[in-house]
Assembly symmetry: C2
Homo-oligomer: 333 residues x 2
């Protein structure tokens, strides 16, 4: 059921089979599977994750390619509630390993916040990432285009950028290397540093050798109309025409609540086995938080794997269910 400040007290004595941190594609898929395995799960979603911002989910089998990410999430949310899974809007502040259970402290409510603690046997970390965006004075100007034709994922949207004049927005020299992959889709590339870092001579030469432009003047604003970005205005007043853009400025990982736990990391990503189990036997990690490709399809599959591994473990540790009527009947009366 949908939990809120009003009714969550009912669940404070319950030990869930699994608490899922994050109600994106991976977390919802995991919880739907858990409920269908007759296990109990709670999804805790802070809102506005990466897939929420996607305007068109163009490469997920079964949905029309113009399906917004939030429509998929709403469907999954409703699906979960129909299976009697629990769902709470809140922000996971801390997870404490108590041995047999995890204690998960959640901030609920932006005003007059309360801090309930829920418990579960297993923890599924599905809190994902969010892409860093260019920081402009007017952030609404960025939000007007990000997720439309100002993309954040080349695998998702390279196709939409094909042979277009494309801006690549980087915040470090390493990220400029994205240009030499993005050129599979389009060679008409202009790299913007937004004045954030120095570019080495070697990189300048490499860009020049490819014919790609380099713009180091900070950006004043994106230009365009109705979520269709068509260029950039720099702080010096000059403008550069574009047809599309890719932001490659790194990501923020929502993994703060995991920092106190003994887990194996590779950069910002959790290392997992082929069932999405981390180095902690009762913690699983899904989707963008773990190593691998950041795609909805993969997060959904990860949810299947983690839920199945948890089910197998709980099932194997449980006594078998007997058909008592038959046992009684076969005994001598």
């Amino acid at each position: 059921m949908k939990l809120s400040k009003k009714n969550l007290a009912q669940r404070l004595d319950h030990v869930y089979d699994a608490i899922v941190v994050g109600g994106g594609a991976g977390g919802l898929s995991a919880a739907i599977y858990l409920q269908r395995y007759l296990l109990s799960s709670l999804v805790i979603e802070k809102g506005r994750g990466r897939s929420f911002w996607m305007q068109d989910l163009r490469n997920y089998l079964g949905l029309p390619p113009d399906t917004p990410g939030r429509v998929m999430l709403k469907q999954g949310h409703d699906h979960l509630l129909s299976l009697e899974g629990d769902y709470l809007m809140g922000f996971v502040e801390e997870v404490r390993d108590e041995g047999d259970t995890f204690a998960v402290k959640v901030k609920v409510g932006k005003q007059e916040s309360i801090y309930p603690v829920f418990r579960a046997k297993y923890l599924i970390a599905a809190s994902g990432i969010i892409d860093n965006l260019p920081q402009l004075e007017n952030m609404q100007n960025v939000f007007d285009y990000a997720g439309y034709n100002l993309h954040v994922c080349m695998i998702c949207d390279g196709y939409e950028m094909a042979n277009k004049r494309c801006g690549l927005f980087a915040s470090s020299e390493g990220q400029i290397n994205t240009a030499f992959v993005l050129n599979w889709f389009t060679p008409y590339l202009t790299v913007f540093t937004h004045g954030l870092f120095e570019v080495s001579e070697a990189m300048r030469q490499k860009l020049k050798d490819h014919g790609y432009q380099l713009v180091e003047t900070p950006i004043k604003q994106f230009l365009g109309d109705k979520h269709e970005m068509n260029g950039v205005e720099l702080v010096d007043g000059s403008t550069i025409a574009l047809e599309t853009g890719l932001v490659a400025m790194g990501s923020h990982y929502y993994n703060e609540y995991l920092q106190g736990l003994d887990l194996e990391w590779k950069g910002g990503n959790l290392v997992t086995d082929n069932m999405c189990r981390t180095s902690h036997p009762r913690i699983f990690a899904l989707g963008d938080l773990k190593e691998g490709i950041n795609q909805v399809s993969i997060a959904v599959s990860d949810g299947t794997l983690a839920a199945t591994a948890i089910w197998r473990e709980i099932r194997r540790a449980s006594p078998p269910r007997l058909w008592q009527d038959n046992l009684i009947k076969t005994e001598p009366s």
Copy 2:
């Protein structure tokens, strides 16, 4: 585009980047990704695979739980054609490894068949499996219930069987062990051997200890109405009431066309790495054909992985695309 006898000659000189054998969830996902990576793909579908028969796709994120498998497949088929992927109804008879390419011989048309040969750099084996069903004199009687409340996949439909009187239909003693997993969902189990095999004393005792019934008389027919099976009539005229059933009689693997190739197998499954690559560097295997859990979500993710691995390899072997206009402009005139 949709290929048929009439127009397929147009593609006989083309070398596809990848030919995908099987237009189920995995194959369609792979081809959609390939097209979006600006690669060329051909999906060859024989029709009526496992997901085509599913009446309700109850655990795939983003689709309402009453979505039939065939609706997902139709959506994927249309999606692929919108991306200019090729799709052909036909049966792959043989694949020959020619070194840099594969030659894929297809039987097209049940009457007046023709046998065109298509070529591709990579092969994606996504031809899946089909569940063996009880062989009754009147097979239509089986088809009336299979995929409705006579299930073939416990992970998919265990939830629907919860606490119901359930028939388990086995064709070997090993398959009877499914009862001791299925009892997670329901203990009201009756095992049917359909007279196909002998049951050991040890297994008889184990079933008895759990209170599960064993029926060794062959089945005459399933009983029920409007795709709702409610029991079984045996050849001796007796009947047994049921509320649901699970067929666990093994599967047929559609892998005959792969038999001549040097591939590593584990039972009927292909061994693959974490990008779904088989032991042959240019052959990938997806979904039910490879090791792992047979689920739509996993097949879809496998398609993402295989297509991405192929794209990376083709991209890295290709010369970089330069922005020629800028190169000309920066040279002295």
